[in-house]
């Protein structure tokens, strides 16, 4: 079973930030998802994380954790 789209796509983003310090990387990934992802895709990602998040890059999990904290 291939990864669902939100997992594949967020892992692609996360792969680009592996060389950065983890906090900065997570923030960059979260910013990217806020700027370019339809809310339903972010919701699907969050639901996936809540369900244990199989297949997710650890940085993607950290970034997802920041998504809920957005104000405004």
């Amino acid at each position: 079973m291939p990864d669902p789209p939100h997992v594949r796509l967020v892992n692609d983003v996360a792969a680009q930030f592996q060389h950065r310090p983890p906090d900065e990387a997570a923030e960059s990934i979260a910013n990217h998802l806020r700027s370019f992802w339809d809310p339903r895709m972010r919701a699907a990602l969050l639901a996936h994380v809540q369900a244990g998040g199989p297949g997710l890059d650890p940085l993607a999990v950290r970034a997802a954790g920041l998504l809920g904290t957005r104000t405004g």
């Binding site: 789209p5 796509l9 060389h19 370019f36 339809d38 809310p39 339903r40 895709m41």
Partner: protein
């Protein structure tokens, strides 16, 4: 307007100030140094007779019709090859020169058929004109068949589908040969033989179709007689009126005179005042317009309840009412975000603008995307991050000032031919060329041009290569520190990153397949140039790191100070005619017109006030996301403008399944394309010959598209869109396309100075066009970057997930060829199929041999997602392990094998890297077989 005849100044303009004063037949005139006497006279309003000279090429001095007398000079010099000098006094109409000219004409006419009245060029023949101008009344040597030895029986070569070569009418003026050499740069023609025996020959005296001729039409344009003549003129007669408009094929955006006879289009002639092309053309724009009147055109709206049903032709009212009702029903059932639209890069700015407005204002969401998603979206992302706006930095003319030209992942001679001709001219003048491409594209070695370096990298390793180039620049002290300090930010951090040993040419040689020495030499060449210019295409963007690569090139250009003046820059060669414009017009789900993010409240306010509805602050779905959401059930209806996503988008099986899963697919197109197989509504579109609007080319040039004929469907495409919005209950009305552009100008600062009236007055402008730059902006970032300081971004190389494996050991990359265009919907419906009747697979001899494949064999091409079959062409243009095909024909359906992998930042598909296997086919797989496996709703 009547038939427009542009003035011919006889020889090309010279740059510089007009400082040389002379006197021609008593008229004083001042021109730049180096100007010919012939041209100076024309500026003074005096036409000197001429035959072998024309202003698109350097003078040759062979016909001697242009002789003049010059005070103090001996004899009667040819005015086309004589440069002006200060104080010169020229006489163009003396008894002596008149006699000489008559003598010249007499000789020409004695060997020319005297069938003027029935000749196709009657009225448009310079030989005929000159006979009149010189007052030729008798031909002492006899004429026509009465003359002595002659060429009147010379045969006609009709091999080219678009023009004839009637050798009996040739005066051997050599204009065609020089046009092919100087204007087009193909060097397909020569003058064979000497004296009386000399004649024009294509290649080694073979038919045009068997020569190197690429059918650009430059020689036809240059020919002063009926020797080289469009077949359409032979058939239909001389046109009687012209309409200036813009080619609808590629991102060069050439201007043309559409020449008509009554309401019938006879020919398209490149327009000399066209800013992009300056009188040149390629085979597509020049000749391949027949699709507009092709019998396959759909002219009536059609609907059906299910895609298993037959189409039903209906009235416009019914089609629009049905569409609006179904869209609202689906929203009522599945939520406002369950529908969306796709705009087309082939449509005008005005047509695109109204679609994104319909989605944002009438649909009430941001689910709008454009087909640029699948080609240049990484350009948008990468250039915005680094320079501050999503656009190429230069005008096309700028290439004439470049000293080192770097072509990355682009094949200009096929994809952007008219720009390629400009580039080739500069290369013949001595500019150095670096090609970075897995394939040995034509430019690497072509007459009088040889690349200094061809870095034949492994597909998917662009970022490793550009990082290594930057590594050399930084570690060898080649950076332009003054530019960087004055204009950029983030350099120190970036330089430390890029200087890391993992980026050295030696470290990446193994993964890229490019030798360290070659790479170092290329970096030194570019960095050391007075002016270094980068041109790139889809071989950069259509990768998993497409956006990263765009930023990598921007870093390289900034580090070497190659931004902000003539001859430098980072330039995307856009695929389709209006890729730039469709992106500018707010087609992306995260951006309002002018590349302004939907989260920016001040921008949203502009539109919500004008449109009277709130604008969503969250980005909508991108095209690939729409397909995914269709399969998970949250996205149910799609409006598609002029785009064949079922054929052009990757992983066709996935796309077909997504389309089949939707409740409503509305296709607005010229033809029943592949996507229409999944559609419930077909709204017939207009061809560019019927449109009124603007296209924006790859140099940000906004060109007018003017209607040559009335809309064959009875409706402009923007009207259809506005009427759907109206029927959905959102008031949208425009009286004209000009009014739509006025709204764009009102709401978008970079377009503030653009209007149809202004364009009609000045021809074209390059945005930004506003109070600060009323005449537009040919070169960007001159004094500062759009974002203030240019930003260096660290670009880590991350290998693509797509690797060759034992099962799929080869890498497939895709592209296009000269005579065909994109999915071929247009070009396949013209005589251009003479050059490319089918898609083929290019394969290296070694890869063919180990598989027992011979030239022309039918092979099966398979990847982990699908397979197709096509014929093999064996060529050492390809490196070992890499094969190549095009996607112009639906029967091959090359995208059956491409995968869902995409650029990390923009989801632009990774068309350029697919792991595949190739094997001898037992029986051809047909695409129908693949399509059969797709679940079809309602079937």
């Amino acid at each position: 307007m009547s038939l427009l005849k542009e003035p011919d100044f006889g020889t090309p303009a010279r740059p510089g100030e007009a400082t040389v004063a002379l006197n021609v037949d008593g008229v004083p005139v001042t021109v730049p140094p180096g100007t010919s006497v012939l041209r100076a006279a024309k500026h003074a309003g005096i036409d000197i007779p001429k035959l072998c000279a024309t202003d698109s090429m350097e003078a040759f001095g062979s016909c001697r019709l242009c002789v003049v007398e010059i005070d103090g000079a001996k004899g009667t010099p040819a005015s086309c090859t004589t440069p002006v000098s200060d104080g010169m006094v020229v006489r163009t109409q003396t008894e002596k020169v008149a006699r000489l000219r008559r003598g010249v004409m007499e000789l020409y006419i004695s060997d020319h058929p005297l069938d003027c009245l029935t000749c196709s060029a009657n009225g448009d023949c310079e030989l005929q004109d000159m006979a009149g101008v010189t007052g030729l009344r008798e031909v002492r040597y006899g004429s026509g068949v009465d003359a002595g030895a002659n060429h009147l029986d010379a045969p006609t070569d009709s091999s080219n589908p678009y023009f004839d070569f009637d050798a009996s009418k040739c005066i051997v003026c050599s204009r065609c040969v020089r046009a092919c050499d100087e204007v087009q740069g193909t060097l397909a023609l020569t003058i064979d033989g000497r004296g009386f025996d000399s004649k024009v020959a294509a290649g080694a005296d073979v038919p045009f179709m068997d020569s190197d001729c690429v059918s650009c039409g430059a020689c036809v344009q240059a020919c002063p007689t009926a020797t080289l003549q469009e077949k359409s003129v032979v058939e239909l007669g001389m046109p009687t009126r012209s309409v200036i408009t813009t080619c609808a094929y590629c991102g060069v955006g050439c201007s043309f005179k559409a020449e008509l006879r009554g309401d019938e289009l006879v020919r398209m002639v490149p327009y000399k005042d066209g800013g992009a092309n300056e009188g040149h053309s390629c085979v597509k724009g020049r000749f391949a317009f027949g699709y507009a009147t092709h019998p396959d055109r759909v002219l009536e709206p059609m609907i059906r309840d299910s895609i298993a049903d037959e189409w039903r032709a209906v009235s416009w009212d019914e089609a629009i009412g049905f569409t609006a009702r179904r869209l609202r029903e689906i929203q009522a059932e599945h939520g406002p975000g369950s529908i969306g639209g796709i705009t087309s890069s082939r449509c005008t700015n005005e047509e695109v603008y109204v679609v994104q407005k319909m989605v944002r204002a009438a649909f009430g969401n941001n689910n709008v995307d454009t087909c640029a998603r699948v080609c240049h979206s990484p350009t948008g992302y990468g250039l915005k991050q680094t320079f501050g706006t999503s656009a190429g930095t230069q005008d096309f003319r700028s290439v004439a000032e470049a000293d080192v030209i770097v072509v990355i992942g682009a094949n200009p001679t096929d994809g952007h031919p008219v720009f390629a001709s400009r580039m080739k001219r500069r290369l013949r003048e001595g500019a150095a060329l670096i090609v970075i491409d897995p394939r040995r594209i034509d430019l690497v070695r072509t007459p009088h041009i040889e690349a200094a370096h061809h870095l034949a990298l492994a597909p998917g390793t662009n970022v490793a290569v550009v990082n290594a180039l930057a590594h050399v620049v930084v570690t060898e002290g080649l950076a332009d520190t003054e530019f960087v300090a004055g204009r950029c930010e983030g350099f120190e951090e970036w330089a430390a990153f890029i200087a890391g040993p993992e980026h050295s040419p030696e470290a990446v040689a193994e993964i890229t397949g490019v030798s360290a020495e070659e790479l170092r030499a290329a970096a030194r060449l570019y960095a050391g140039a007075r002016n270094g210019a980068i041109y790139y295409g889809l071989g950069v963007t259509e990768h998993s790191q497409g956006s990263t690569m765009v930023m990598g090139m921007a870093n390289l250009a900034m580090a070497t100070g190659n931004i902000g003046r003539d001859g430098v820059g980072v330039n995307p060669l856009r695929g389709q005619n209006n890729v730039q414009g469709s992106c500018d017009m707010g087609s992306f789900p995260h951006e309002l017109p002018g590349y302004r993010h939907v989260s920016d409240e001040s921008v949203r306010d502009i539109y919500s006030q004008l449109w009277g509805v709130p604008i969503g602050e969250e980005p909508g779905l991108r095209i690939p996301n729409m397909f995914d959401a269709a399969l998970d059930g949250s996205f149910r209806a799609l409006y598609v403008q002029g785009e064949d996503i079922a054929q052009s988008d990757p992983n066709s099986r996935h796309v077909h399944a997504a389309l089949a899963a939707m409740d409503l697919v509305v296709v607005q197109d010229l033809f029943l394309n592949e996507t229409a197989k999944f559609a419930h509504v077909l709204l017939p579109g207009t061809s560019f010959l019927e449109k009124d609007g603007t296209f924006t080319n790859a140099e940000r040039r906004i060109n007018r598209v003017r209607p040559v004929m009335a809309a064959r469907t009875g409706k402009q495409e923007w009207q259809i869109v506005a009427e759907i919005a109206q029927a959905m209950g959102y008031p949208m009305h425009y009286d004209s396309a000009a009014q739509i552009m006025d709204e764009v100008a009102l709401t978008t600062p970079t377009f503030a100075g653009v209007s149809f009236a202004h364009l009609d007055e000045v021809g074209s402008v390059q945005w930004p066009c506003n109070d600060a730059a009323p005449d537009g902006t040919p070169i960007m970032h001159v004094d500062g970057f759009t974002r203030g300081r240019g930003r260096f971004v660290q670009t880590t190389y991350v290998p693509t997930r797509e690797r060759s494996t034992r099962r799929f050991p080869l890498i497939l990359t895709t592209g296009r060829i000269l005579s065909q265009y994109n999915v071929g919907a247009q070009t396949r419906r013209t005589a251009n199929v003479a050059w490319h009747p089918e898609d083929v697979l290019d394969l290296h001899p070694h890869d063919a041999e180990v598989r027992g494949i011979n030239e022309g064999d039918t092979v099966t091409l398979s990847s982990r997602v699908g397979e197709t079959s096509l014929r093999a062409v064996i060529t050492d243009r390809m490196p070992v392990g890499v094969c190549y095909t095009t996607f112009h024909h639906p029967v091959t359906g090359a995208n059956v094998v491409t995968t869902e992998n995409s650029d990390w930042a923009t989801n632009c598909p990774e068309y350029k890297v697919t792991a595949v296997q190739v094997s001898l086919a037992v029986a051809p797989t047909t695409r129908a077989a693949a399509a059969d496996q797709v679940p079809v709703a309602g079937a």
